[in-house]
Each structure stands twice: as C-alpha cells, then as structure tokens.
C-alpha cells in the first residue's frame, strides 16, 4: 500500500510539474512578433491576451522580490550569527542556520526567475536588450563571475556550518561576510542597468569597459544601491517575522510557541531597525532624481504619479502602526505588570503616529468639485495644502521614526531597573536629546515654508535627517550600556502573545512587499514613454503608464504570488528538518517548564534587544 501511495504522489507531483511548465510555456509559445517588414529587425513581440508588458511586470517583480529576500536573508543570518557568538546565546546561531537553510532553495528559485526574465526580455523587447547589451556587455561578464563566487561561498557557508564551530567559527563568520560582500555586488551590478534606464549619462567614446563604466556610474546608481540594500534587510526581517508569526499560530506545544514568539520578535526588530533609516535613503534618491531631471521628479511627486505617494504613505503608515503595535503587544503580554504602566504613553504615541499619518497622506493639490474649490478658494486648501508640501512630509516622517524608536526603547527597558551610578544622568541626557531632536525637526519643518526650496532641500531637510540619525546612533548604544548592568524586575515571558501578534507580523510583511511592488511601478512609470530616458523611446503599444487602480491589482497579485513562492521555499526547506525531529528540533528554548510559557532569563531577555 505504501508503495502504491508513493507512486500516486509521484504522479501527482509530475502532473503538477507539467501544469506549471504548460502555464509558463503557453503564453511564451503564443508570442508573436509585431509585423516587421522583410529585412527589418523585430523590435517587439507580444503575448496575446495577457500582454508582454504584464508578463514582464510579473516575472521581473517576482525576481526582484526574491532577489531582495535572497540578499536580505544573508545579512539577517550573519548578524544573528555574530550576536550568537558575542552573547553566547545559541538561539541566535540556530536561528541564523535555520534561515541560511532557506538560501539554497530560494537562491535557485531567484536564479530561475532571473533566467526566465532574461529570455522573456530578449524575446519580447529585442531592441532594448540589444542596446543594453551593447552598452553593458562587460558588466554581464562581471555579473557571471560574481554569481560563481557567491554560489561557491554560499555552499561553503551552509554546508560548513556544523564543521566550522568552535575554533573555526571565525572562519565561518568570515565566509558569511564574504557572502554578503558578493551579494552586495550582485545587487549593484544589475542596479546599474536599471538605473541607467532611468538616468542615462553621456557615454564617452572608448573601450567597451570605459563605456560600461561610464554608464554604470549614473546619478541614481548609488542612491538606489543604498535604498535597496536597506530595503532588503527590512524585507528579510519582516519575512522572518511573518514566518515566525505563522509558525506561532500553528504551534502545537509551548516549546514551539516560545521559540516562534522569540523568532517573531527578532524578525520584527530587524525589520524596524532597517525601516528607520529607509525614508532617508528614499529622500536621497528623490533628491538625486530631481537634480538629474526636474521633469522626472515632477512626474513622480507632482505629476500623474503623485497620488501614488498617498498610497505609499498609507502603506508606510500602516507598517509603522503595525510595527509599533507589535512592540506594544510585547510590553502588555510578555512583561507581566506592565499593562497599566505603559498604557498612557502608548496612547500618546498612537495619537502622534496617526496625526503624522494624516499629514503624510495629505496631497498637495486636491481634486475637488467646483463648489468645493470655490468654498476653499482654489484647488489648494488653505490648511490641507500646507500639509501637502515636502516640508510637512519630511517633518512627520522624522517624527514617526522617533516615535517608533521610542517604542523600541520603552520595550527594551520594560521590566528592568538600571543599576549603574550614572543611570539617572544618562536617562536625563537621553530625554533631553530626544526633546531637542523633536523641537529641531518641527522648527525646521515650519521654517522650511519660508525659505526657497533649494535651501530647504539642501540644508533643512538634511539637518532633520542628521539630527534623527544622531539620536538613533547615540541613544541605542547608551541604552545598551545601561541595560548591561540593569536588574531584571520582571522576567520576560515568551510564548504568551495572543494570536493576533502572528497576524500583525504577517500584515507587516505584506505591507513591505506591497510597498516594494508600488515603488517598482513608480520607478518604471517615471520614465514615461522611454525605455532609456531621453535616449530610447518605447514605441511599443504598451508605452503608456497604466492607471493606479489597475496597477494596484497587479501589485496585489504579485504580492500574493511572492508569498506563495516564499511559502513553498519554507516548506521545501522544512522537509529536511522534519525528518530529524520537526521544527522543534531547532526550537531551543530556555523554558523551565515545557508545558507552560517560558520565562526568559535576564541575559536572554536583554540580548534580545541587541
């Protein structure tokens, strides 16, 4: 019977495989060239019904999201491994290993989608690919070489995990470092192709290497590199959180709940810490776009794409509220006795976040009826219009970052009492620093209305960003020092979070993925009807930008498909683990009683915040 069942499952998998192959091959097989006269090169091919652009959109987005995941996870894993080594807490090492295990299958899936994308681009957009190959061929070679190095390092890193423990741990950490270095270069090389399309530069005559280098070093290359690097960390963190959230919801026993509760916390923590500097990187990118081409900046922020940024504000706002809510839930449930103490500050922070969200979501110009416009005295409302400009948006985004940072600090300190002699001075100093930062951010934000745009962009906004970064970079290590010697007054209890904590973690991950798909649409649409802005026009039937509502439906589809792919990768990766004793095999906990919620020891609780 067992034999027959095995055969049946083989047939089922074979049938599923064939269906998948058919689903992928059918539209490609149906592709035809747009009628080209004899002797003339084909410029475009189309997919009937679906449209070549939609197919490229979906495949490219899947590849990009997977790439973000594949590049984010090694950073996540390596940081966890370092924390594990530094603190001696084996949970971090096991968490790092659990996520590195995902890399082998996700790496292959990413490469698979990269290959599909390449073939589709060559087939559907030959004119563009011919041009890009002509400019970038040398970097294609570099990319291949980097792939070889990355693959070899990944194999060594993963398969050498157990054998490189103890005295060889340093070597393993070095391999993790190399893995991330190669991954970074793998990311920035294709970034140069995409950013060149948006901000091409005059390509000097010379060798093919000189031409490729000139095209690579275009104005938006580094802003996109940094933005994507941080975004990948955020994606890796939140996906780890979502995975932990799901596993927490499905946990069968207390031990699993403890482990996945803790894992969810770590994922959310890394996601939030990546999220905090992300708006700064986004701001830098927009600034470079404006400096490169004012029209492109206007198209994005003040033209037909401007409403997209209201949608972005909604997603970011919910992500901030979701991330903070998870911290607050942690305070209320993991630290007994904290409920009453922190409710008021939580309410105050929630109100600030919502007010900031309200300002961020206010557009500059309004689409109002004639009667409403008359009543307001124009399309710009005297009050709402004030909130619609960049000065207000920069101010509230900085305030939201500070509030989220406060939530984290509050969570870190909950249930502990500082014992250091300088604790009072340090706490007062932190309070003063935060207060000054808030005042500076608000004052510069208001002052920004009364100075020329160029002064605001170059000096005021930059100062706001630097002040907030300064707070983040000084308060965090100071609190870390304080917590090192702190006395635990209330033990942190893991595994007692309500089920909605798991859903919040899923919500955060979905918001991040939707945001990435939205920004992909923004970057592509900002080029309007150009393949390479100002150089090569898109003369296909899909040269126009789709409307926001239609685009949102494709984004939601892309997000869903990506979640399915990630679930598949997690499932495949978990197969090996189950044989050895299931997921709980790795679920090392410090639970004193497996049947009851685990109470984290003081070092474990404190290291959880580092």
């Amino acid at each position: 019977m067992e034999h027959i069942r095995n055969h049946r499952s083989v047939y089922a998998y074979a049938a599923l495989f064939l269906v998948l192959v058919f689903a992928v091959a059918m539209p490609v097989g149906l592709a035809w060239a747009e009628d080209a006269p004899a002797g003339a090169a084909t410029e475009y091919r189309d997919i009937p019904g679906m449209g070549s652009r939609n197919l490229i959109w979906i495949v490219a987005q899947q590849h990009l999201l997977l790439a973000g995941f594949v590049l984010g996870v090694p950073i996540f894993a390596w940081v966890c491994e370092i924390v594990g080594v530094r603190t001696g807490d084996q949970r971090y090492d096991k968490l790092a290993k659990e996520f590195t295990k995902l890399l082998t299958s996700s790496y292959a899936t990413t490469a698979l989608f990269g290959g599909i994308l390449l073939f589709l681009l060559i087939g559907l957009y030959p004119k563009l690919m011919n041009y890009l190959s002509d400019v970038f061929f040398p970097s294609f070679l570099v990319y291949c070489a980097l792939f070889l190095l990355e693959t070899a390092t990944l194999y060594l890193y993963w398969y050498g995990w157990d054998s490189m423990q103890g005295s060889k741990k340093g070597l393993h950490l070095f391999l993790g470092f190399l893995l991330n270095v190669f991954a970074f270069f793998i990311m920035i090389v294709p970034n140069s192709w995409a950013t060149f399309q948006a901000s091409p530069v005059v390509i000097a005559e010379g060798s093919m290497w000189a031409r490729a280098w000139a095209a690579t070093w275009n104005p938006t290359w580094w802003p996109v590199n940094i933005h994507r690097l941080i975004a990948n960390v955020v994606l890796g963190g939140y996906i780890c959180g979502a995975y932990a959230g799901l596993k927490y919801l499905m946990a069968q026993n207390a031990e699993e709940r403890v482990h996945y509760d803790w894992m969810g916390y770590v994922g959310n923590f890394i996601g939030v810490f990546g999220l905090l500097p992300l708006p700064f990187a986004g701001y830098w990118l927009m600034r470079e776009i404006y400096q490169y081409n004012q029209q492109m900046g206007i198209t994005l922020m003040g033209g037909f794409l401007s409403w997209l940024f209201i949608l972005q504000a909604m997603l970011i706002g919910i992500l901030f509220v979701g991330s903070n809510y998870y911290f607050w839930l942690g305070i209320m449930h993991r630290i007994p006795g904290s409920e009453a103490r922190y409710r008021r500050p939580i309410l105050a922070m929630l109100v600030i976040l919502l007010v900031c969200l309200g300002v961020w979501m206010t557009p500059h110009s309004l689409v109002a009826s004639l009667e409403e416009a008359r009543k307001m005295g124009g399309t710009h409302h005297p009050l709402l219009g004030v909130f619609g400009v960049m000065s207000a948006k920069m101010t509230v985004s900085n305030l939201m970052i500070l509030v989220t940072f406060m939530s984290f600090i509050m969570y870190w300190r909950a249930g502990k009492e500082e014992t250091a002699r300088w604790a009072k001075v340090a706490k007062a100093g932190q309070g003063v620093l935060l207060g000054i930062a808030v005042v500076v951010v608000v004052v510069l934000g208001v002052w920004g209305y009364f100075v020329p745009a160029i002064t605001r962009i170059n000096y005021f906004s930059t100062t706001q960003v630097l002040v907030v970064l300064f707070v983040l970079l000084t308060v965090t290590p100071l609190t870390g020092l304080l917590m090192k010697s702190a006395r635990t007054t209330t033990e942190m209890v893991w595994g007692v979070m309500p089920g909605r904590a798991g859903y919040v973690l899923v919500l955060n991950a979905v918001m991040v993925i939707l945001l990435m798909t939205l920004m992909g649409y923004a970057r592509s649409s900002s080029r309007v009807h150009w393949h390479v802005y100002g150089v090569m026009q898109d003369t296909s039937q899909y040269a126009y930008s789709p409307a926001l509502g239609y685009a949102a439906a494709i984004m939601a589809l892309n997000t869903f498909l990506f979640c399915l792919l990630v679930a598949f990768i997690f499932w495949v990766a978990s197969m090996g683990g189950e044989k050895k004793g299931g997921p709980t095999d790795t679920a090392h906990t410090k639970a004193k009683d497996a049947a009851s919620p685990a109470v984290g020891s003081a070092p474990a609780a404190s290291t959880g915040h580092q």
Binding site: L246, L347, R500, H529, Q537, T539, A543, Y544, A547, A556
Partner: protein, 275 residues
C-alpha cells in the same frame, strides 16, 4: 469570566473615546475648516484606526485555528488587505493613460514614420488603400458600361494626384509644443517658469540676442554657443547633444520660430557667445 467582563468595560470605554474623537474631528473638518468630503472621511477613518488599534491591545486572545481553517483564515486575511489596497488605489483620483497615449502619438509616430519600417508601413497602408479605391472604381465603371469608359475616365483624370494640403499651422504654437515635448523647460526658464536648478540660461529675450540660424546651430550642436555666466555648465556639457538625432528638421525649425518670437527685453537673458 472576570477577564471578559473587564474587557467589555474597556471596549465600551474606548469605543466611546474613539467615537468622541471621530465626532470632534468630523465637526472640525466639516464646519470649521471646510475640508472636502474625502478628508472629512479620512479624518474619521484615522480616529477609527486608532480606536481599533487601542482596543486590540487589550482584547482577549481567541482560540487559534488549525489545519484548513488556519489556511482559509490566512487567505481571507490577505484578501482583506489586498482588497483594501486595491479599493484605496481606485478611490484615489485616477490618472488617465489616454493623456500619455496622446503625447506618445505626437512624439513617437512622426519618428516611426521617418524610419525604414515606418516608411514601409506607410507604403503598405497606401497600397492597400489604393487597391481598395481602384476596385471600387472598377465596380462602378463596370456598372456604367465597361472598359472604354474606364480609359476615358483615366484620360479625364490627367494623372494628377491629391493637391497638397496647405500647411496652415501656427508655427509659434507648434514650436511651443516642441519646447514642451522635448522638455526644454527642465533647464531653461521662460516667463519665470521652468528650471529651478541652474542648468541653462533664461530664454525670455533670446529672440533679440540670436538669429534663427544661430539658434538652430546651438540646438544641433550645443558646443557651438555658450551663454554668458554659464561657463561651468558649458564645460560640463550640460546641454545634451541628442536633438540633432531626436528631432526632424521641421521640428527644429518650428522650435526656432518659437524661440525667435521671445523678445521680452525686461527679463535679463544671458548673452550668447560664439565658441
């Protein structure tokens, strides 16, 4: 039971608080600030979001789902999120792709027509039209009496084609259109509108400073002229040299006609220097 009772008390208290905030916001936005309805609704929604978040902080845990139920709950959860996202995107004012399509037609179609492919397409289209016309004429002639009359008809026609239509365009208007389409305003100001960052000179009085042929020379070869005070920009080759390839002669001519019409001496316009 006691926990449930206390949560009900919390729920009522926070709902009242949230409801109060929503009503206050509605009154303020509607009657004091006269916000448009969409913002009145938004502010009420913010109050709702805050209330729900604050209530959920203390809500008791529900028993977890398992198996298929868990899967369904998750898919429903995603469907709600995606549905809200798509509805939100559709609720916002929609950009009309037809606007961009119109612009593309204006820019791309003449370029396409100028290529070999475009010329062949046009010839094919024309031959199909002529074929259809000749067939229609043949049918009509057959109905009238046959081939003799056809020859007579051909003789009458005298081999003349369609008379060229008079080009009655507003040259300056067409030039202004080219100025916008080529996005010259990115680097140049006219009437105070255009470039914020210093890239290229103001154009308001350029008609008094340059002859049309000099303007054409500058457009097709940016290295041929430099604006006074723009040495740095000139040396950095800020002005692209793509217009010779990108624009047809006719398009450059109408653009020059438009620029030549700019003669507002009250606006300081940098003096062109021949290089």
């Amino acid at each position: 039971m006691a926990g449930e009772r206390s949560f009900i008390a919390i729920l009522i208290k926070r709902l009242l608080l949230g409801g109060f905030a929503a009503v206050v916001l509605l009154i303020l936005t509607r009657f004091v600030f006269h916000f448009p309805p969409v913002f009145q609704a938004m502010f009420v929604l913010y109050a709702g979001l805050g209330t729900v978040t604050f209530i959920l902080l203390d809500a008791p845990a529900v028993s977890p789902f398992g198996g298929v139920k868990a899967l369904v709950a998750l898919v429903v959860f995603y469907a709600v999120l995606a549905g809200t996202f798509i509805a939100g995107a559709n609720f916002l004012p929609q950009y009309d792709p037809m606007v961009e399509k119109g612009k593309i037609d204006k820019i791309v179609k003449p370029k396409l027509a100028a290529t070999d492919k475009g010329k062949m397409d046009a010839l094919l289209k024309r031959s199909v039209e002529l074929n259809a016309q000749s067939q229609a004429i043949m049918k009509r002639l057959e109905a009238l009496g046959g081939a003799d009359k056809l020859k007579a008809a051909e003789g009458d026609k005298g081999g003349g084609g369609d008379a060229p239509k008079a080009a009655a365009g507003d040259l300056i208007g067409l030039g202004k259109e080219q100025y916008d389409l080529q996005e010259c305003y990115n680097c140049h100001k006219i009437g105070g509108k255009g470039s914020v960052k210093k890239r290229g000179p103001t154009m308001d009085n350029i008609g008094n400073l340059m002859k049309p042929e000099e303007m054409k020379e500058k457009i097709t070869n940016p290295r041929s002229w430099m604006a006074e005070g723009f040495e740095k920009e000139y040396n950095k080759k800020q002005m692209p040299d793509k217009y010779k390839e990108l624009m047809t002669d006719q398009e450059i001519d109408v653009l020059v006609a438009y620029l030549a019409s700019l003669k507002d001496a009250s606006v300081e316009t940098p003096k062109p220097i021949k290089k």
